[in-house]
């Protein structure tokens, strides 16, 4: 771990001022960043603690939510409105990490979790374009059981590790950002990037920009939604495949649907194609399977992760089937 300076911001404006110095990282709960620093995968020269940002979860009149970036994962998962209106989000958060980690982790920080790719972590012995642009990727031909099947590039096959973000992607969340040049809002599905030629850039955030809040629009169909995480042990393991889904069925026909996948790509994967394929179709297993296949048509598995394609297909069909069944 490099020597670094630490300061505590009083609020967003203070944080942005402090964060203007190159080599600065914002620190939330530290559950990922500190680990990365210990392992030598991150070398910030300065940390600006932003846990003094808003910890409010504000209920909007239209039914939406505005969630302060410093809200702890546990607090969001337990919030009554979240559990009632967006159960998939509560479940996704509770499916991640451990209780101790969730108590520390912040919502803003969770968005910026970095991949668990072992070659990314192994700074001494392995090549990684995400850590050192242009160095090459040892994961593509290495042990890549946990890696991406969708949207990867020859430069990077890493996956995004967050569970929460998968639910947020399905829920049409947007991310409120502040920087020296002002405020902006970005749909969550556009916050994270696909790797293309620049896997070192996880997100579209500009240097010094700070996430201040996450906004969830009112989404009545999300009150019947779920998150299914498939992993190697019952708790405390990253997703091999996860599915966040909300489904509205009327007279046996899919009126509306939200679907996102985790563990399959460099970003939380909104399943636009599957959604498109499902709207207006009968809420049947055949339609669910066709939708899953449409989404996975471009999947390109690696040496060790071909099972993820079949696993994702089966899990999507099962989750949609359960939601359709529950609505009958």
């Amino acid at each position: 771990m490099n020597p670094f300076s630490y300061s505590r911001a009083a609020g967003a404006a203070d944080a942005i001022r402090l964060g203007a110095v190159a080599g600065t990282k914002y620190l939330g709960g530290g559950t990922n960043l500190v680990d990365l620093m210990r392992e030598g995968a991150e070398h910030p020269e300065a940390l600006v603690d932003v846990t003094a940002l808003s910890r409010e979860i504000e209920e909007r009149e239209d039914g939406g939510l505005m969630i302060g970036a410093a809200v702890r994962n546990t607090a969001l998962a337990e919030h009554r409105a979240v559990r009632q209106r967006y159960p998939m989000l509560s479940r996704a958060i509770l499916a991640g990490a451990s209780a101790q980690i969730r108590n520390m982790a912040t919502i803003g920080g969770n968005l910026l979790q970095r991949t668990r790719c072992t070659y990314f972590y192994d700074g001494e012995g392995s090549r990684c374009n995400k850590r050192e642009p242009g160095q090459g990727c040892d994961a593509i031909d290495g042990f890549n059981r946990n890696h991406a099947i969708l949207g990867a590039s020859p430069a990077c096959v890493a996956t995004h590790p967050s569970d929460m973000c998968v639910a947020l992607a399905a829920l049409d969340a947007s991310v409120h950002i502040e920087g020296r040049s002002g405020k902006r809002s970005v749909p969550l599905v556009e916050l994270h990037r696909l790797p293309d030629g620049r896997p070192d850039l996880d997100t579209v955030l500009e240097p010094g920009e700070l996430i201040t809040a996450i906004e969830l629009p009112a989404l009545p169909l999300a009150s019947r939604s779920t998150y299914r995480k498939v992993r190697d042990r019952a708790s405390y393991a990253f997703a091999l495949v996860s599915v966040a889904a909300a489904l509205e069925v009327e007279s046996g026909t899919v009126k509306d649907v939200r679907l996102a996948l985790g563990g399959v790509a460099h970003k939380p994967w909104r399943a636009w194609r599957a959604e498109e394929a499902l709207r207006g179709q009968p809420a049947s297993e055949d339609a669910f399977r066709a939708a899953a296949e449409a989404e996975l048509a471009d999947a390109s598995p690696l040496k060790d992760n071909a099972f993820k394609v079949e696993l994702a297909r089966r899990t999507i069909v099962a989750v949609l089937g359960d939601l359709a069944g529950a609505g009958r």
Binding site: M1, N2, P3, E39, G40, R116, T118, D122, E124, G125, S126, D141, G142, F143, R145, V230, R231, D232, R233, A234, S235, Y236, A237, F238, L240, R289, F307, E310, L311, R313, R314, T315, V317, A318, G321
Partner: protein
């Protein structure tokens, strides 16, 4: 000094009479309160304050090659850094338990993550930063990282925990002629012990005398290994290891951190603390080997085994002959006139393979008990019935009698309690929603071992007793059972017994390993107490057998004298030593058990969840029903991990250890472990030891994983022979057979 050689069975002892009523009772741990209140200092917590320096290990970034140069200049100039230890003579990793000292690098890199340097600083943080500034230049060479690829080059190793080959009759012919045959190959991956407490040491020199606080299982051997590594006499080294946060075999040989701490403490003239990071524990201590196992069983149509073959391949570093005794249980568990058990060892450029919980059985019985389940199905027999039909009445290897054997009783008791009769032999017979439910069983056996062990017991004038031995308690309950033994023998309640362990200045014990600790160290306490009782009897003017000791009072005939009065201000002390003898040679000794497991397999995803598990265990006299049960629980949980999740992944291109932390090396978490039940059959085996107990610690893991995979087969019809049975492997079978899809 009274020494008892275990040549024959003792008659009834004070442990049978139980005047004080301590032996066998489910008493709380002697040191439990200290541990849960944070008052039991572990190695790294023992030395604080001024003058202490901190060392952080630098490891090799490649798996095979030659060290060209190690640039320490930047590290040296980093604030707080005092010293950087490099050189060809540094230990690469832990010592092999049976070895005389850890291997040294000699300028070469033998495996990924090997120790190359130690950076020492005034603070841990400064040392860690200094370590990150050390750059290693090396010439990388092609290495060998894949057991399958090296299998053709595997050699016959010299005898280790067992001979490499055990044969009887004409296996090949009998197998060829058998009416019903099974020939399957099973694979198990490398594993890591993953003890909760990482390896740590604090070393301090006073003149030529070295004191090391560390975490180790075999104090006597470890003291000699450390001395040999430093080139000094063992009497110049004192090891202290009173509290140990788990070992599982990973702390049997002295760790590199202890050697490095001692080396550098001498150079800089300050106490030095070195703890391995979790990642380094995976990289520079030891691992359990990966294995390939071919099991062949030939039987008559009515299910009598005529030929049993278990050929295995495992790996180790070049120059290390240790091989996992994979076929240990296959030697004696089932009958069969024609037998062939072989072990072959392949060289890999991977971390040293060594003992991990139940070396041999833990992986060998996965294959054997999986194969027995498969063979039972071929024969159309219930798996328990098939095992019963092949119950030998003598050791099938050499016709020696068993000292005691209650395998059938364990299976029958377990079957009754678990509801085995309700099992459908046909897979996929039970489904609850998306979950396919199945049950499976496996036999357990663990060869009984006894090791030389000494202890001193002192009776103080105030009527308290002190037990002194360098025995370790690695979480097993040694403190407690030794206190119970002394209390039972001397007629003292638990609160009047003090137990001092884990100090090389005390009489040398068996240490903890191979499940031999309780019987070996317990017997030494028993022998010392017998000597004290002789002397008390003389003071009472009676024969020892006429003396009863209870609640601090000596009773003979109609006389009752408080012990304090009898001692009359004098302290009595005796040292007892147990030596293994002919009883082991003349009889085959092993502990037995039966595991039962119910799993749910998700028909959609292939996930397996263990729903309940029961192990019935028989290991002679149970010394403490609570700590014994805990040992079995730990073994069963290891079994669940072995069956479902644990795999040390090595990148076969370059030897990189891929998953070297607890987030990625998947030991079972609480949510993976359902309510577990343990039933202990309380028997006595007087040929096993004066305690009449057999080894229990590793019985719980032996076979446990096979009960899980046999249950998976029963649930969903997918037979996983490549451990662990992760969901992708189950899914492959499910996809063929259809699920909900």
């Amino acid at each position: 000094m009274p020494t008892h050689v275990m040549n024959e069975a003792l008659g009834e002892t004070r442990l049978d009479k139980g005047a004080q009523g301590l032996i066998g009772k489910p008493l709380d741990r002697y040191e439990g309160r200290l541990k849960v209140t944070g008052k039991a200092p572990y190695a790294y917590e023992t030395r604080h304050g001024e003058g202490v320096a901190y060392g952080v290990v630098v490891t090799a970034p490649v798996a095979k090659g030659k060290v060209v140069s190690i640039d320490t200049l930047k590290a040296f100039s980093s604030p707080g850094v005092i010293h950087v230890l490099t050189g060809d003579n540094l230990p690469t990793n832990s010592a092999q338990p049976s070895g005389d000292k850890p291997a040294i690098g000699g300028g070469q890199i033998h495996f990924y993550g090997q120790v190359l340097a130690l950076v020492v600083a005034d603070s841990f943080e400064a040392a860690r930063h200094g370590a990150s500034l050390v750059t290693v230049e090396c010439e990388t060479r092609e290495g060998r990282y894949d057991l399958d690829a090296e299998r053709p080059n595997a050699k016959v190793p010299p005898p280790g925990n067992m001979p490499p080959d055990t044969a009887r009759g004409d296996f090949e012919r009998a197998f060829a002629e058998a009416e019903v045959k099974l020939d399957e190959t099973y694979r198990t991956p490398s594993q890591s012990h993953s003890a909760m407490e990482p390896h740590a040491a604090v070393a301090e020199w006073q003149g030529g005398q070295l004191t090391v606080h560390t975490s180790c299982q075999l104090v006597g051997d470890n003291t000699r290994q450390l001395a040999a590594a430093l080139g000094i006499k063992p009497d110049k080294v004192r090891i202290l290891t009173p509290y140990i946060g788990g070992g599982f075999g990973g702390k049997l040989g002295i760790g590199p951190e202890a050697v490095l701490a001692a080396m550098v403490a001498k150079e800089i003239g300050r106490p030095v603390k070195v703890a391995l990071t979790r990642q380094q524990v995976y990289q520079v201590t030891s691992r359990r080997t990966d294995t390939i196992q071919r099991v062949r069983i030939g039987a008559t149509r009515d299910g009598r085994i005529t030929a049993i073959g278990h050929e295995s391949w495992c790996s180790n570093m070049a120059g290390d002959d240790y091989f996992e005794p994979i076929g240990l249980s296959t030697v004696f568990l089932y009958a069969g006139e024609n037998r062939l058990i072989t072990h072959r060892l392949a060289e890999l450029d991977v971390l040293m393979a060594s003992a991990m919980r139940a070396p041999g059985e833990a992986v060998g019985m996965l294959a054997l008990e999986n194969a027995m389940d498969e063979m039972a199905e071929k024969l159309g027999l219930d798996p328990i019935e098939f095992r019963k039909r092949n119950e030998p009445d003598r050791n099938p290897e050499d016709d020696k009698p068993f000292s005691s054997r209650h395998l059938i009783e364990c299976m029958e008791e377990g079957a009754r309690r678990f509801g085995w009769s309700e099992r459908e032999a046909r897979p996929r017979a039970r489904q609850e929603g998306d979950w396919l439910i199945g049950i499976g069983m496996a036999a357990a056996s663990r060869k009984n071992l006894l090791a030389q062990s000494s202890a001193e017991v002192r009776l103080e004038p105030d009527g308290r007793a002190i037990v002194l031995t360098d025995m370790t308690d690695i979480g097993t309950g040694s403190y407690t059972i030794l206190a119970q033994t002394a209390g039972e023998m001397l007629g003292l309640p638990m609160d009047r017994i003090t137990v001092l362990l884990g100090d090389s200045a005390l009489p040398e014990s068996s240490g903890s390993g191979g499940s031999f600790g309780a019987a070996s160290a317990g017997s030494s306490v028993y022998i010392a107490c017998e000597a004290l009782i002789e002397r008390l009897a003389r003071k009472m003017d009676c024969a020892a057998e006429d003396l009863t000791l209870k609640d601090g009072t000596a009773v003979a005939g109609n006389r009752q004298v408080p012990l304090v009065e009898l001692l009359a201000g004098e302290a009595l002390s005796a040292e007892g030593t147990l030596q293994p003898g002919n009883a082991t040679k003349d009889h085959h000794q092993a502990s037995y058990g039966a595991h039962f497991c119910e799993v749910a397999v998700n028909a959609v995803t292939g996930e397996t969840r263990v729903r309940r598990m029961l192990s019935v265990c028989e290991a002679g006299r149970i010394l403490n029903a609570k700590t014994a049960r805990s040992q079995c629980l730990g073994g069963m949980i290891f079994g669940i991990g072995t069956a479902l999740t644990e795999e040390l992944v090595i990148d076969d291109r370059n030897g990189l250890l891929v998953n070297h932390d607890l987030a990625e090396y998947h030991v079972p978490v609480n949510a993976d472990v359902p309510q577990l039940d343990v039933v202990l059959l309380d028997k006595v085996d007087r040929l096993a030891s004066p305690m009449a107990s057999k080894g229990l610690g590793e019985l719980g893991i032996s076979g446990a994983g096979a009960a899980v995979t046999n249950a998976i087969y029963n649930a969903c019809g997918v037979r996983v022979r490549d451990y662990p049975a992760t969901l992708d492997k189950v899914l492959e079978g499910l996809a063929e057979g259809g699920g909900r899809q």
